[in-house]
């Protein structure tokens, strides 16, 4: 496993047609997909719970075949205006039923934890964007960015299960540790691996560079706000999922992101309350 070369990582990621939707979100999605009378808003909302589905649908909506003049960067437009209900339902159903992680090969991967990380980061980003009213950042885009921030870990779990297991079976399963280890063993960060996937799947440039530039120190002007928002969301998420979740680090998070402490505190508390309750967490996602 020490010998995974960069080209072979890229080659394997480029072969991925789909990623697993995660069992935690699957039940709700399945319900919605199987309901012939499902309201489109509800379908959009439940699909928004799955990083894999969101990435896949956004990518397809932007593929050349649909010939959209402008990039489609939100799920609602992708489903309603481009792909159509029927295709989305069929594709989602196929992914839910057929694309699954093989627990034999990657025992250490905790899909519940991955999902919580993705969702909390997404909701935090959405709330921060809402509260702060950044000029160049809509709350829907912020949510999607947060949801896709860790998709590289899902890529690793699905495409390199044994290699990732080697990392996960060690002591700490904190994402900070996982992040460092992936960088060390794969020769690139999971953000980079996520970037390769989003590029191959032809997601809008916005999402690609969000991952490509996430840890970069030199940021294009128009990405600074997004990057600050995501870093803050990620830190809030780590604080919440920490065993002894407390708000001691919030002032640092707020200062780094250039946000009022009050805003960060509000978002932190709202998410903290619902962290043990998936239903409540999902409910925390505001409408858009």
């Amino acid at each position: 496993m020490d010998d995974i070369s960069k080209p072979s990582i890229e080659s394997r990621i480029n072969k991925l047609k789909n990623l697993p939707a995660l069992p935690e979100a699957s039940v709700r999605i399945l319900e919605a997909v199987n309901d012939p009378d499902v309201e489109i808003e509800k379908l959009v909302k439940v699909i928004s719970l799955s990083p894999a589905l969101v990435a896949r649908l956004l990518g397809l909506a932007n593929s050349a075949f649909f010939g959209q003049l402008n990039q489609i960067d939100d799920l609602h437009t992708a489903i309603v205006r481009v792909l159509g209900l029927q295709m989305v339902k069929s594709l989602s159903l196929g992914i839910l039923l057929n694309v699954q992680l093989d627990p034999k090969h990657c025992k250490g991967f905790d899909s519940q934890s991955f999902w919580m990380h993705s969702l909390i980061t997404a909701v935090a980003a959405q709330k921060l964007a809402n509260a702060h009213a950044w000029q160049s950042l809509s709350s829907a885009n912020a949510y999607t960015c947060g949801l896709l921030l860790h998709i590289g870990i899902l890529v690793a779990a699905y495409a390199f299960p044994e290699e990732l297991d080697g990392i996960l079976s060690h002591e700490s399963n904190s994402y900070l540790h996982v992040e460092t280890e992936i960088q060390r063993r794969f020769g690139q960060s999971h953000y980079q691996m996520g970037y390769i996937l989003l590029k191959k799947w032809q997601l809008p440039e916005f999402y690609q560079s969000m991952l490509n530039q996430f840890t970069s120190t030199e940021m294009p002007e128009n990405q600074v706000e997004l990057n600050r928002c995501l870093h803050a969301s990620q830190q809030i998420c780590y604080s919440i999922l920490d065993q002894e979740a407390d708000d001691t680090g919030l002032d640092l998070i707020a200062a780094t992101a250039g946000l009022p402490l009050e805003t960060v505190g509000k978002v932190f508390n709202a998410l903290l309350e619902s962290k043990d309750n998936v239903q409540k967490l999902a409910a925390e996602m505001g409408g858009w």
Binding site: P7, S11, N14, S63, L91, L93, G94, N98
Partner: protein, 402 residues
Amino acid sequence: MVSGSMLLSLDKDWDGTNVQDLIVDLVNALSAVRSLSEISCEMADEKAVIRLALSCLLSNQDIERCSFFILGDDGSLSNVTGVSVTEQAGSDVLIAQNTMSFRMGEGIIGTAAATGEMQHSSNCIEDERFTSGRDSESMPGSIICTPVFTLHKELIGVLNVSHSEPDFFTVWHMRLLQVFSNILGQLITNRRLFQQMEIQIALRTAELERLVEETRRLKDYYVSMSMQDQLTGLHNRRYFYDQVELAFAQHNRYEYPFCLLMMDIDHFKSINDDFGHAFGDEVLITVAGALKKQVRSTDILVRFGGEEFVIIFVNTSCDNGKTFAERIRDNIKSLKWQIDGKQIQLTMSIGLYCMVPESSNDNRYNDIDQIIHCADTALYRAKANGRDRVEVFETGPLADKP
């Protein structure tokens, strides 16, 4: 056009039984075709068209490398362009196979060209169609080579797609490549036709432009011919009437005075009679040359007919006009010719009419023919008064020329 190896793989390779992969494959295939269909055949460079087409394939498919080998005049297939996934990522590294070429029937690419059928190798290392001597590092795991034809079924070249893994391609890839290569063939055919048409148009346009230019030169030539006296090179009577309008207009608008000189070589007829027309012509040419030196570029000098010349000195007062006229008379008198051992000298009579602002109040003088008539009258008086002199037309009742 489906080769044996492709038929064999029909059932074996297809693992797209899952609806989610099928949808993704379908959309990707349609995307490749759609982007190919959007390439304009108006591009000048065929290589650029092919390169764009390969990019369409690469960005919408899971293949790693594409290349195109074009059929040359010598019957060999040479690599015109290639793109790989790493290039798509933004680096400009060209695949180090640019100079590769195959003969018809040589290797898998040559076989595709010679048979006109798609060739698929699911494991290149073990495939005998691969010509020996290629280093195994740059050798792909699997490859599909598709011949590309024009609309008239002439071979254009071979489209190759490859992946580093053996057994990578499915029947899905082959079906897409069949459609893709058909459209690519049509695109290249159209581009070539378009190019030929452009060349034809450019040729015809150049020819037309040349003709237009020639016509323009001819027209200019004839215009100048009609305005010019062939013997002396001076302007002629027609030109005079053309230009005199301008002098009149300026006189009327700005009250610029002008002087009109009517000049006639004295006893010219006897020169012609005594020494012949050739000498007469020589005299006229010399006199014309001398007159030319006496006028400014804005003045009007013409040969009015026979041995008669006219000058209009624009923006010139009567006094100055008289001075100029005297100077001309002196100048002509000083000219010398040698013929039959004799030295010949001449004189000139000059009638002058001054057009000064006050005189235009009189309607009679506002017409060029009237003015010429006045100058002519003065000239007649100069002749009558002994020749070799300048006479100014005096205002008063117009005298009739006998």
